[in-house]
């Protein structure tokens, strides 16, 4: 239930907090802490995903770069003949 609420909105309004606390039989403080932690976990995951994406873009950029480099060398040798 907390996860679902988090999916909807990862910041917690005071009213939402009390509502969840009541429904789950927890202290509001506990709910707040859960959200805090959940946001921290989410940020780590997000960073990892960003990193992987950047890495894969970098690899593809590198491939393009190197192939263009070769093409240009070829062209240059043509021009020089």
């Amino acid at each position: 239930m907390l996860e679902m609420s988090f999916e909807a909105e990862n910041k917690l309004e005071p009213e939402k907090k009390s509502e969840l606390a009541k429904k789950l039989g927890l202290q509001p403080r506990q709910v707040a802490i859960w959200f805090q932690n959940r946001r921290a976990r989410y940020k780590t995951k997000q960073l990892e995903r960003d990193f992987d994406r950047l890495k894969s873009s970098y690899d593809s950029l590198l491939a393009d770069h190197d192939s263009l480099l070769n093409d240009n060398l070829l062209l240059r040798s043509q021009v020089n003949r």
Partner: protein, 279 residues
Amino acid sequence: MKRERSSSSSELMGLERFSGWMGAGEEGVYEDEDGGGGAAGAAGGERKRRLSGEQVRALERSFEEENKLEPERKVRLAEELGLRPRQVAVWFQNRRARWKAKQLERDYAALKSDYDALRLSLDALTADRKALLAQVEELRARTSDKEEEVVAGDECDSKVGLSEEEPLLPAESDDSAAVVTGAGDECSPNPRGQPQLTGPPPPIPSLDGAAAADGYYYCDGPPPFYHRHLSGSPPPVVVRMVEEHDFLSSDEPFGGGGGGLFTDDQPPTLSWYYSDQWS
């Protein structure tokens, strides 16, 4: 009891990261902010005490030496610092998580810098390519003009025409000498050195002499901070903890994810990351 433990351990993990990670003090915070365990966690106040600065420093020193904890070290540290072994274990666990996150941040920054440099380099290459293609095109056009003259005119005339037609040929170049001499020696429509129309490109010496102004890296690519930085293996966090593989096609490396920060040409930014206020 079980719920209590899991909530308290998640509190520990979360709050550890919360307080330590982004550069603020690296204290082993065990409790929530108001200091009260109460119903939020432990049964007794004893179990929720904040670590002292000295304890934290000792743990940090130990962590510097070796970030994994063997049982004997754990017990020893616990005794030395007046903590329970479990506390030491948890502290190390959290500390490793913080360290990995920091490492990932560093790796990301390095990779981003490499990426940007590579992008610049690619742009320069693209410009060069354009210029080179233009050169090739121009040279081809010039060759076909020459050939038409050769075919159309008298052999001897055409030879004269040839040497007049190529004032740009540097006299010292072997190729141009060959062309001129070839034309002079043989009274044939296709003097030596002058290729067929469909043959290889004409042996025209380099017009610009040197390479174009290269704003790019030749053999090894830009010095990649990220790759230099690594000692060979990818950050452990990435290898072990990647749960979602959301790789998109290379056309759109950063499509849609993460709060709409990404356009086609921009690498992902961490603005959400840096600017977000920790509540």
